[in-house]
Amino acid sequence: MRYALLPVLVLATLFAQKQADTKPLAEPAAVNPQSVPDKNNLLGLPPVPIPANNPQTPDKIALGDKLFHDKRFSVDGTVSCSKCHDDKQAFTDGLPVSVGHHGLTGTRNAPTVLNAAFNQSQFWDGREPDLEGQAKQPLINPVEHGLADHKQVLEIIRTDPDYLATFQSVFDVSAKKLTIDHVAKAIASFERTLVAGNSPFDRYYFNGKSDAMTDAQIRGFELFVGQGRCVSCHTIEQDHALFTDNRFHNIGIGINQIQQDIPRLTQAFLEAKNKGGQVDTMVLTDKKSSELGRFAVTDELSQIGAFKTPTLRNVELTAPYMHDGSLKTLKEVMVHYNNGGVDKADERVNDFLSGGIRPLNLTDPQLNDLVAFMKALTSSWSGSKYVNPTPTQAAN
């Protein structure tokens, strides 16, 4: 029992220190004037997983912060990580698909970095296992940062004495021995600080504040775990909620538009991959190949058109929705699910649709309640120097 208590005590100490500078920045008060936000940014979250080979240190986090916002790491000097993961837009970009160097567009919607630390895999298709692996890919993707290779990243760092000094002190590594993995570790450490719980839902569910959610949100929550079947993939545990099962599902987004092309696409994709083609380049530069989803990573037929379940935390702030940004509002999302995996009820369901996606027979008021509940998942987030996002840009 003593050992079990230890992490709780450590966390409690951590929270006590953070409480001093806490103030609610999203606006739960507007949602429900009666609720008094609990002053715990991590309410409703499990402990942040920190890999043994990349412990958090304040200097490393600061270094990652700087790297994350540095536009020099791109072929035209305009693209930083924060271009598509914008601090002011809940670490997304508000666009259907992201824009890289020289205005080139990719094929996928920028997922929020908020709580990405908890993901068991990164990218919509899960092609990297962790934040460190994720950080390395966009730098050399032809439609993102556009650098030719990771050497160019290191060369840029070597021209900057400040960077060199910081890498030396954080990693004890000389300019010569510096590798892209050091860069990735620093960025990942920074990203592990971007965690946010403490939403009205958390105060309602984990702190027992019955007035933390509105009546519509409470009805929406009941639908979320009941008739809507949402909770089967967007999971809620007894003592925390990440709203993702970390699995991959074909829910009829994107794939519906390329059904006739699938035999040709799967064949061509595997042939290209066997000849050494790189998955990240292939899926971000070809819209149709992108829709193959998790299949592109695993070659498994059962994962055609399947994408990772994203967290729903702060979903109010991260429109547009789905891996291709094709749904503008949360209401459109609800309609899609209510139709059983098609945007319009009479559309053809794709052959590879995941089991579990089926018509839900929800009424329009019920769909509205579900949307209301989504807005109960917005964090009252504090403790960061960043201006906190406001839910205005999401036109729900």
Binding site: I140, D149, H150, K151, I180, R229, S232, R247, I262, P263, T266, Q267, L270, E271, K273, N274, G276, G277, Q278, V279, T298, D299, E300, L301, S302, I304, V349, D351, F352, L353, S354, G355, G356, R358, P359
Partner: protein, 358 residues
């Protein structure tokens, strides 16, 4: 280019190579087919249980399972030489069910052979099924292999013709599990005579593959995982040096070896058996033949269902199971042990512990 990029390439290549066999067999062309032109693959879909509700409404879940298996089968590379459908296309043997199922199956590319299941049969004793799919038992030769299809779900004439006031009731009685009014499946004398005659013309070194709906072995009578005259059918097959029996009906992965005969089951596209333990209302007597499957997730309609492609190399079968929400599995004939075995789970110690339901 940097070494980093090269190593990324290598990683992806390696990862791709590992995936082969468990998934889309794009490289089977090189791996298995390079040695002999007699090696080939065929796909196997079974137990769709298409169920009519009324008017033009059918149970969506069963529809989706069959539609998905058909679509995925069409993506196999290299293309399978033919596709088997292993029986129980319908739930209660009606025309709407058989028609609807046949329509979904019509999307399959290439040649399809059909096996009769009890759910197809006991309404009109196979009459409409025969109009759609042809004879109930037959044989054909392909690339040096002799294939036999049997209707193994017949039973005693007394039960079939004299027991029930209506055809509908007969169908419902046979569809039930642990039903004291049920009756054991059998191939029957007519087909055994035909089989003996058919096999007499075949050289004993020719690989023989028999397709039946029920297991041509006796596993569990209460669920008709059973064929009453299995021993007599086996006796006709034993003289051949390489014999394989593939059956559906059991909705789970089983394999066994009796003498020269290898037995493999195929998965259902509709639902899994055995039912989750949590649903059992009494002690279960199912023999411990199978690798326990994780409890089927009640949310994911496709969990613990699947289909398979079958690699026929040197007269022996490798069954490659595509299982939704589960790891793909391969049951391969082990030429040293002379029996089929799961390539990943053959050791008791290596087995996945069944999930405990709380």
């Amino acid at each position: 280019m940097s070494t980093i990029n090269n190593s990324r390439r290598n990683f992806i290549k390696t990862a791709g190579a590992l995936a082969i066999g468990a998934t889309l067999p794009i490289s089977l062309v090189e791996l298995a087919f390079a040695e002999s032109s007699q090696n080939f693959t065929f796909a196997y879909i079974s137990d769709a249980h298409i169920q009519h509700i009324k008017d033009n409404r059918f149970v969506r879940n069963w529809d989706r399972g069959l539609i998905r298996a058909v679509a995925e089968t069409n993506l196999l590379t290299p293309k399978p030489d033919f596709v088997m459908f292993g029986g129980d296309l319908a739930q209660l043997g009606s025309k709407p069910e058989l028609d609807h199922g046949a329509e979904i199956l019509s999307a399959l590319h290439g040649n399809v052979h059909y096996v009769m299941g009890e759910h197809d049969y006991y309404l009109d004793l196979g009459e409409y099924w025969g109009k759609l799919f042809g004879p109930q038992y037959y044989s054909f030769d392909h690339k040096g292999v002799h294939f036999v299809v049997l209707n193994s779900i017949k039973t005693y004439d007394d039960w079939t013709f004299k027991r029930w006031p209506t055809a509908e009731q007969r169908m419902l009685e046979m569809a039930g599990l642990d039903n004291p009014n049920g009756s054991p499946f059998m191939v029957g004398e007519e087909q055994r005579v035909w089989l003996k005659d058919d096999l007499d013309k075949i050289d004993k070194d020719t690989p023989v593959v028999v397709f039946s709906h029920s297991p041509l072995q006796k596993i569990y009578k209460g669920w008709n995982f059973w064929t009453e005259d299995a021993d007599q059918v086996q006796a006709l097959l034993q003289p051949f040096s390489k014999v394989s029996v593939i059956y559906g009906h059991v909705h789970q992965i089983q394999y066994n070896q009796i003498g020269n005969i290898s037995f493999n089951s195929v998965m259902a596209t509709a639902w899994p058996w055995p039912y989750p333990q949590a649903y059992a209302q009494a002690e279960q007597y199912l023999p411990k033949l199978t690798v326990p499957m994780n409890r089927a997730d009640p949310f994911f309609d496709r969990d613990a269902t699947g289909w398979q492609f079958i690699n026929m190399a040197n007269g022996n079968l490798d069954l490659n199971y595509t299982l939704y929400n589960n790891t793909s599995r391969i049951v391969r004939y082990n030429t040293d042990k002379k029996s089929p075995e799961d390539v990943a789970y053959q050791d008791e110690k290596a087995r996945i512990v069944p999930q405990t339901h709380y």
